[in-house]
């Protein structure tokens, strides 16, 4: 039995925020859950998938976020409770549907959890998704602890059913990917049978009818949320400073107040129903405030909307000094940290920060400078992407026309850095590499001479690159699409995709085979194993000489997937008598250039050696060693 399906009400467990969200959905009696994986949201659907069969629910990894929302909406249109989860970028993909679904509403319960990634720790951007709630006329809740994440998701279903519209929940990395105590509630034992009432339609047309309906539902949500227990005030009645905060800011702020001994001077206004804001509650507390500090991630959402409320009520409110991102006081990019919040509070209350003694601090600085070497981002040992980029770099050099590599979203995005030999020259959104390459491939008609190459992973291909490929084929664009097929959605935790033989729940699925799909579109692909560097290089070079839209599949399993199977690996050894080290004209090709973590430079001997705890046996170093000093023994 998995953790999140334990039928033990009252039991306290240590759950990841995402698991707590999943548990809340189970306690709310969901029947369907869908998502496309994206950190920091992936474990929500991942943990539900693990318990799907046991709980009698349907869970899928959808082809992309828009389809995930559509799958969930179909269930919610049929009277069920359905959960859909995505990262902030995913909401952009799903938005076209969301901004029509909000007009028709649903008939069961539909909760859309968006996990934002302040500082872009595992994302290309740090977009604040909360802003979408305003134009979508949908309520948005923000949990600040793990237990609250569970309770809030459960309540979000209640709210969604009450207003018959979608309810948004916004989490962030420091909630979703952190762990804390969660007390389990009861699990329902019955779920409704899905039935779509055809007597009434769910049509966004005409907007003249549906937009007012959405507004009526929003006003209903406002009424239901005005006294919500998710909004609380703690602290003195007339605080010298009031911190208005939500999400991860709540725990950081509370700790900072305690740490600085400010309990009697500073109050904490914790907001859980971020949109619509509880206006009466906010006005009531602003009446006691002199100074207000906003602590939130990423955009000034609370700040903007509290200031708007203040403007409308200012006849009845005292003069207040507001501090936040808009006022220029707090940083307007990046995630919150305890140190940052401590600093803001210390400055506003003129309270000194705790410090380490000088001798220790100096010693600590020395440790950072001399004993903690930087660890740059790198592909894993045995990662097929390292081999693919190696072959690509070589083929582009042979081709000599300064080809442009359009990158995409996935582990291979690291191709813009050193271990991908800086080959990828653009990096934006899912599928955008293919779209841009297809576009660049048309510029030959206008005199461009550089070849265009798009890279994308297998999962990314299904998600968003297919329309770009079709677009390129249709318009006779000259570009090469290289699909780095490592058999899984590796970056987010090896979720299956439409090419997989099993689905999220572990049941047999019908694979939509990459090569069949490409062939059917009129681009029968060439398939190579990137671990065969020479063969792969030649294939890329040959395809670059061909006109039209061509597809190359570089197929080799993710090293981490291989490691999970725990099967015997090939043994790689360096014969130090043959490695001529610094003397070799190769200038340390294996370590200096290839940069595989499975290789070490033995500075004493001046030669390379294998780190047997890290090497996965891919053997590409053996292929590039000019002295043939690296031996690979089959397992």
């Amino acid at each position: 039995m998995s953790l999140i399906s334990k039928d033990s009400p009252g039991k306290e467990l240590l759950l990841m925020g995402n698991e707590a969200i999943a548990r809340g959905a189970l306690e709310a009696g969901i029947s369907v859950a869908a998502a496309y994986p994206g950190n920091p949201s992936s474990e929500i659907i991942g943990s539900l998938a693990e318990v799907a069969q046991e709980m009698g629910i349907y869970v899928e990894w959808s082809i992309n976020e828009k389809v995930a929302l559509e799958v969930a909406a179909a269930a919610a249109a049929s009277g069920l409770n359905a959960l859909v989860a995505m990262k902030q970028n995913g909401l952009n993909v799903a938005s076209d549907f969301l901004f029509n679904l909000n007009l028709t509403g649903i008939r069961g319960g539909l909760v859309l959890v968006v996990c934002d990634d302040p500082s872009g720790i595992s994302s290309t951007n740090e977009q604040d998704s909360r802003i979408a709630a305003i134009p979508a006329d949908l309520p948005l809740l923000e949990p600040s602890t793990f237990h609250e994440a569970k309770d809030m998701v459960k309540y979000a279903f209640e709210l969604s059913r009450s207003i018959q519209n979608v309810c948004l929940v916004r989490s962030v990395t420091r909630i979703s990917h952190a762990r804390g105590n969660v007390t389990l509630g009861p699990l329902p034992d019955r779920r409704p049978v899905p039935y779509f009432d055809t007597a009434k339609s769910l049509s966004a047309l005409p907007a003249s009818v549906t937009h007012p309906t959405a507004h009526r539902k929003f006003r209903q949500a406002r009424e239901l949320l005005k006294d919500s227990p998710f909004n609380r005030y703690e602290g003195p009645e007339k605080p010298e400073l009031m911190v208005v905060t939500c999400g991860s800011g709540v725990l950081f702020s509370r700790e900072a107040v305690q740490e600085l001994g400010l309990d009697a001077r500073v109050g904490l206004l914790k907001v859980g129903t971020t949109w619509p804001l509880p206006e009466t509650f906010v006005v009531h507390h602003l009446a006691n405030a002199k100074k207000v500090l906003f602590v939130e991630e990423v955009d000034p959402f609370l700040e903007t909307n509290v200031l708007e409320i203040y403007a409308r009520h200012n006849g009845n409110l005292p003069a207040i000094e507001f501090f936040g991102k808009k006022s220029g006081f707090a940083p307007d990019v990046g995630e919150l940290s305890p140190g940052l919040v401590l600093g803001l509070l210390s400055q506003l209350t003129k309270t000194p920060l705790p410090t380490r003694d000088d001798r220790y601090s100096a010693d600590a600085q020395d440790a950072l400078h001399r004993f903690a070497p930087v660890r740059s981002l790198a592909f894993c040992a045995g990662c097929p992407h390292r081999a693919s980029y190696w072959a690509l770099k070589k083929a582009l050099a042979l081709d000599g026309r300064n080809g442009v590599v359009f990158g995409d979203i996935g582990c291979y995005a690291l191709g813009v850095f050193a271990t991908g030999f800086h080959q990828a020259k653009t990096l934006h959104a899912m599928g955008s590499g293919a779209g841009m390459a297809a576009g660049f491939g048309l510029l030959g008609k206008l005199g461009a001479t550089q070849p265009a190459i798009a890279l994308c992973g297998d999962s990314t291909f299904y998600h968003a690159a297919i329309p770009a490929l079709i677009n390129g084929l249709h318009h006779r664009s000259d570009f090469l699409l290289i699909i780095l097929d490592n058999s899984a959605t590796a970056m987010t935790g090896f979720q299956p995709h439409p090419g997989s033989r099993v689905d999220a729940m572990g049941l047999e699925a019908r694979p939509v085979v990459l090569e069949d799909l490409c062939a059917a579109l009129g681009a029968p692909p060439v398939i190579r194993d990137p671990f065969d560097l020479e063969d792969t290089t030649a294939a890329i070079y040959d395809l670059l000489q061909k006109q039209g839209t061509n597809v190359l599949i570089l197929r080799q399993e993710c090293a981490l997937v291989r490691a999970k199977r725990n099967q015997a690996r090939r043994k790689v050894e360096i014969d130090q008598t043959r490695c001529i080290g610094e003397e070799c004209g190769c200038n340390r090709l294996c370590t200096r250039v290839l940069k595989c973590p499975g290789l070490n430079w033995d500075a004493g001997a001046g030669k390379a050696r294998i780190d047997e705890a890290i090497c996965t046996g891919c053997g590409i170093c053996a292929q590039i060693c000019p002295s043939r000093a690296i031996d690979v023994q089959e397992a």
Partner: protein, 205 residues
């Protein structure tokens, strides 16, 4: 644990089992009625980057997932230079360190851009930044058990053996069974007991 919150950092390099180690500590303590919050800091890479879990243990309240500078009470390092990195920002004169002795070289070292610090000097630096420090050959033990990933559990055993956290073999068995899977109990228990023996100096008896 004399302080509340008691702040533990589990640090290492991606792929070393840092997350599992902190999860198991947390699971064992939640089972004893503590409020535990675990936050993780990591780069975008699956492997090769520095990763760090902040484990915050309290009798009374749920603390935030990241700790403020300079408040670590216990540092458990799966990689020695990562111990230096953590002590540099989170350490203080009362911090206790439990450190795996085996380095994992960053690509920056592998490619020759940076040197890896001299090990004896590195250990001395860690010791000078700690009230007490324990150096454990956890990866070597784990390789003897057949899988380098078990170094994380060997270190947890060392933490238990030195009485640095209220965790025990029985607690570990329950946590592995409940939070990982029952079929992983035997091998993890073996690694844990190795760690206890190593720290008590009985490993090679």
């Amino acid at each position: 644990m004399t302080k509340d919150p008691f702040n533990v950092v589990v640090t290492g390099v991606g792929g070393q089992g840092n997350v599992i180690a902190s999860l198991l500590i947390g699971a064992m303590l939640v089972d004893q009625g503590y409020k535990v919050t675990i936050g993780e800091t990591y780069g975008a890479s699956q492997r090769g980057g520095s990763v760090m879990s902040h484990v915050r243990i309290s009798r009374t309240q749920q603390f935030g997932p990241l700790m403020p500078p300079g408040v670590a009470d216990l540092v458990i390092a799966l990689e020695p230079s990562e111990a230096a990195r953590v002590l540099g920002t989170l350490g203080n004169p009362t911090t206790v360190s439990v450190v795996n002795t085996r380095p994992v070289h960053p690509v920056d070292v592998i490619c020759g851009d940076l040197p890896y610090p001299d090990l004896a000097e590195l250990f001395a630096k860690i010791d000078s930044l700690s009230r007490e420090s324990y150096f454990i050959s956890a990866t070597d033990s784990a390789l003897e058990l057949g899988n380098p990933i078990l170094a994380n559990i060997v270190l947890l055993g060392a933490v238990a053996g030195a009485n640095l956290l209220p965790i025990s073999r029985e607690g570990l068995e329950k946590a592995v069974s409940e939070y990982m899977s029952p079929d992983k109990v035997a091998i993890n228990t073996e690694a844990f007991v190795r760690g206890i023996d190593l720290v008590r100096g009985r490993a090679r008896d």
